[in-house]
Symmetry: C2
Subunit: 199 residues, 2 copies
C-alpha cells in the first residue's frame, strides 16, 4: 500500500531542498498538510515567482529581479571606488551587516573548480575585467572564502588584475581558515576588513 500520488509527489519534490532526505521530506509534507496549508500555499507561489523572475544584477551578478541591484544603483556606492569580490550573495549580507564597507561588490557565484567545470568564464571574470577597465575603482578587495579553493580563486583574480590600474587587497586572515564567509560573526569580519593586506 502506497501514499496517494499527490502526497508522494509532494514528498519526492521536497527532497529538492538542500539537506532534506526522505524522512524529513515526509515529516515536512504531513506537517504542511495538517497544520500550515496557508503558509505552504504562500511558499509555493513565492517559489514559483522567484524561480521565474529572479535573475542576476547586470553589474555585480547578485540575485535580483531588477536589471541592477540596489547597491550597484546607489550613487553613494558608485562614488566609493572600492570593489569587493565575494563568492556568493550570502557573503554580501554578512559583510553589509558589519556596516563597515561602503563600496560595491562583484559576486563570482562560486570559486574556481576545474574538476566541476567551473573556470574563469563561469565566474564571470570577463565581466569583472570590463568593470576593472572602466576606471571606476581604485581598490579591489578579494573577500573569497578562506578555503583552499577561495585562496586559489583570489590569487587567480589578483594575477588577472595586474593589467589594470587598481590596487588589489585580500581580507586579513582574521576569518577562521576552512570556514565559510557567510557563517562568520560580524566582529571577526570587521577585523578581517580593517586588517586587509596589499597583495
Amino acid at each position: 500500500m502506497k501514499l496517494s500520488p499527490l502526497v508522494q509527489e509532494l514528498i519526492d519534490n521536497l527532497k529538492h531542498l538542500p539537506g532534506v532526505g526522505p524522512k524529513s521530506a515526509q515529516r515536512m509534507a504531513f506537517h504542511l498538510l495538517e497544520r500550515n496549508r496557508i503558509g505552504a500555499t504562500k511558499l509555493a507561489n513565492s517559489m514559483a515567482k522567484a524561480m521565474e523572475h529572479i535573475g542576476h544584477c547586470r553589474t555585480c551578478r547578485t540575485f535580483t529581479e531588477l536589471e541592477q541591484c540596489d547597491i550597484c544603483a546607489s550613487p553613494k556606492r558608485q562614488a566609493s571606488r572600492l570593489l569587493c569580490i565575494v563568492e556568493s550573495p550570502s557573503d554580501i549580507l554578512a559583510i553589509e551587516q558589519t556596516g563597515e564597507f561602503i563600496g560595491r561588490y562583484f559576486v563570482l557565484m562560486g570559486h574556481l573548480s576545474p574538476i566541476d567545470g567551473i573556470g574563469p568564464e563561469e565566474l564571470g571574470l570577463d565581466q569583472l575585467q570590463n568593470l576593472l577597465s572602466s576606471d571606476e575603482f581604485d581598490e579591489m578587495i578579494l573577500a573569497t572564502n578562506p578555503t583552499v579553493e577561495g585562496e586559489a580563486t583570489a590569487h587567480f583574480i589578483a594575477d588577472l588584475a595586474g593589467s589594470y590600474d587598481v590596487s588589489v587587497t585580500r581580507i586579513a586572515h582574521g576569518v577562521p581558515v576552512g570556514g565559510e564567509l557567510g557563517y562568520v560573526d560580524g566582529n571577526t569580519l570587521s577585523h578581517a576588513f580593517s586588517g586587509r593586506k596589499k597583495l
Copy 2:
C-alpha cells in the same frame, strides 16, 4: 542594503517549513536559485497542487486527493474485520512496512490535548463510532503513540468502544516508551503487533 523583494519573500516563506530558521531559509533560497531552479519550480507546482487538492479519506481520515484511500477501497482489507487506530498518516506507512497487518486504519490526526483545544470531535471520534457501529470489525487495535497523551487517548477510545460489539486491544509495549511511532524500526513494530493485549 537589503535583498531584493522577491528574494526576501522567498526566504521569509521558506520559514513556513518545520525546522527551518532564518539562516537555513537563506541557505535554501540561494541554493535553489543558484543550482536547482528546475527542482524548485517542480516543488512549487506540486506544493500548490497538493495544498489545493489533498483532503482526507472519507472513511479513515488519512491524506488523499481521492474520496476514499487505496486501503479503505481494497476488498481484501474490507474483508479483514480488523481496525487499527493511529495518530498520524506516517504511522500507517511505518506499520505497512512491517507487512504484518492486513486490515484497515483510522487516523486520529493527533491525540487528545485539552490544553490545545483538541477533544473527541477534533479526532473524529463520531466518525469512528459510526465505523464501530457498522458491524464491519471484530477487533480494534489501538496503535496510538506510547506517550502519555497517546496512552490517555487509547484509554478514552477503549472506554468509548465498550458500547460496541468489538474487542479492543493495545499494541504491546515493545515500542520504546516516550518515542514516536513513525520512527520505530519495523522489527520492533512487528513484535508490538504480535504481542498485543486485550484491554
